[in-house]
């Protein structure tokens, strides 16, 4: 895919450092096995940030640590000035961060409507729920045609759209996506990124995503981070990373 610099909208938020998502020196893992050896990362308001790196470098683990699905053994996670480190996952969601887990991230036996209902779990105001639902169907009209269809009967691309729509129900300020294009055909990869960009442009939602397709990820983001073996390797403006010889050779196939 050719570089299309105009795909990504200019950042909508201010450029102030450190007051949106600020992750510092995170160490975490599964059981006793340490996977992240101290990773730092920042997302600014309204920005799209991509994390790339080889398989097994800890990209998904890092997102789970940010979402508080995994405990942080060291380091801190701050969001909009508040310390998330001691919070449980359900509390993190209430702070305005939504998460789309990797692959088939749906409830197989629930309908589209039920998914949106579950997405609005933390909302108590019925009016807000209705508005959020309308906004979701407007953003992804394809789902509106299948309100009563069970997720397991839908295609992989539709499930991915559903998962994003579900995550947007709480009107988050930051959307975290784990491998949103995993297993999708090239056509659906394009469609998915269009949706992600649309979410960022129209709703002003900041995006942090992990992508195995490094080129596409950098083409569709403002800034990028390259992880290797659970450590930060490179970081910078996506356009610069795309031009960087070392990144090209290692992750972009030339």
């Amino acid at each position: 895919m050719a570089l299309e610099a105009d795909r990504v909208a200019p950042r909508s938020g201010d450029d102030a450092h450190g007051d949106f998502l600020m992750v510092e020196d995170i160490v975490s893992g599964y059981g006793r096995q340490e996977i992240l050896h101290g990773i730092s990362l920042e997302v600014r308001a309204g920005e799209i940030v991509a994390i790339i790196g080889p398989n097994g470098c800890g990209k998904s683990t890092f997102l789970k640590a940010v979402m508080r699905f995994l405990p942080a053994w060291q380091g801190s996670i701050r969001f909009q000035g508040a310390d998330l480190t001691p919070l449980s996952p359900d509390k993190t969601v209430r702070r305005g961060i939504s998460f789309v887990p990797q692959g088939h991230a749906v409830f197989p036996d629930m309908t589209v409507d039920e998914h949106l209902d579950m997405g609005a779990w933390i909302l108590t105001d019925e009016q807000k729920k209705r508005t959020a639902r309308e906004r979701a169907y407007e953003l992804i009209p394809r789902l509106a045609e299948r309100k009563r269809q069970a997720a397991k009967t839908m295609s992989g691309g539709e499930q991915q759209m559903l998962s994003i729509a579900r995550a947007l129900m709480t009107a988050p300020e930051l959307l975290i996506l784990d491998e949103p294009t995993l297993g999708l055909s090239p056509k659906l990869v394009d469609l998915t990124f269009e949706t992600i960009l649309e979410v960022n442009r129209r709703l002003g939602v900041a995006i942090l995503m992990v992508e195995q397709n490094a080129a596409v990820a950098l083409e569709n983001s403002h800034r990028g981070y390259v992880l290797e073996m659970g450590n930060n390797k490179y970081q910078g403006e996506s356009a610069e990373l795309l031009r960087d010889e070392r990144v090209r050779r290692a992750y972009l196939g030339g």
Binding site: M67, V93, P101, A105, V106, M118, A167
Partner: protein, 288 residues
């Protein structure tokens, strides 16, 4: 085949009682991927609550059903929070060993507390005849209650917020977490509900059969087959498979032989494993 209606009725009654144990076992597996070997023991404990309420206080088992369920709900929820929660997400063998150990503890201490004496409640034993089907009132009452309770469970899961949280956790834990659902609470609740339903089954068994400290294992063996038949983690599947199991026992005994009848569910199980490995209603675990 003589008396097909009678065979049908017998199968349905037994199936309804199996279903009370099976839906809970399946629910618990769905929510926490734990095969609870001690699940049958909850039925045993519930049965003893009902028995002693009858023996000491003269309470009808239809009345003591509710306290029996409440007590086992608290017992199950407490056990989950204190012990079982620690093996959630660990390999299946860890939870198998843990719940197997718990089962032995419950079983042995029950034997000390209640003795091995077989007991039962003689209540509503008079038979009634309807459409050529004869059945004691306790069986009929047991059948109706079992249907009401499973119906209540389905309504709870479908329409209430905690029920939806349980279903969501069962279907995809990561997404449930991402929705802001307290999955730990959902697990504790599901475990408590499973224990309460098993207790209800135990209460009904104390009326229609007899009870003893190690009865749990015999019901576990049957309900485990039922749960695999229905698809591990599928509550609707467990319900359908429980009735299928009851009917196979009933018709198999009459049409083939009592020796062959117990093998029929396993024949069905093998057939289903070949043609539909995830069970009647199962979503393949690999898909999740």
């Amino acid at each position: 085949m003589d008396h097909p209606l009678q065979l049908l009725a017998n199968g349905l009654v037994v199936g309804a009682i199996y279903s009370l144990v099976a839906v809970g076992l399946s629910l618990v597996f769905g929510v926490m991927r734990v095969i609870n070997i001690a699940h049958g023991d909850f039925a045993m404990l519930g049965a003893y609550v009902a028995f002693f309420a009858w023996d000491w206080l003269g309470l009808s088992p239809l009345v003591s059903l509710l306290p029996a369920m409440a007590i086992l709900f608290l017992f199950g929820a407490g056990l989950q929070r204190l012990v079982i929660e620690r093996v959630v997400g660990r390999p299946l063998l860890a939870s198998l060993m843990l719940t197997f150990g718990l089962s032995l503890i419950i079983w042995n201490s029950s034997q000390v507390a209640f003795t091995t004496k077989l007991r039962g409640i003689s209540y509503l034993t008079e038979p009634v005849t309807f459409l050529g089907v004869t059945m004691s009132q306790s069986y009929i009452v047991g059948f109706v209650l079992a249907l009401i309770l499973t119906g209540a469970l389905f309504a709870f899961l479908k329409f209430t917020a905690p029920g939806k949280a349980i279903r969501a956790t069962s279907q995809n834990q990561d997404v449930a977490l991402a929705c802001g659902i307290d999955v730990r609470r959902a697990r504790t609740l599901a475990f408590g509900i499973g224990a309460a339903l098993a207790a209800a089954a135990g209460t009904l068994i104390s009326m229609t059969g007899f009870i003893y400290p190690y009865m749990g294992f015999e019901y576990l063996a049957k309900t485990f087959t039922i749960v695999v038949l229905g698809g591990l983690g599928s509550v609707a599947g467990a319900l359908v498979a429980a009735f299928a199991y009851g009917l196979l026992e009933s018709f198999g005994t009459a049409m083939l032989s009592p020796r062959i009848a117990p093998a029929l569910p396993f024949v069905l199980l093998i057939a289903i494993m070949i043609f539909r490995p995830s069970g009647l209603f199962g979503t393949s675990v690999a898909d999740r």
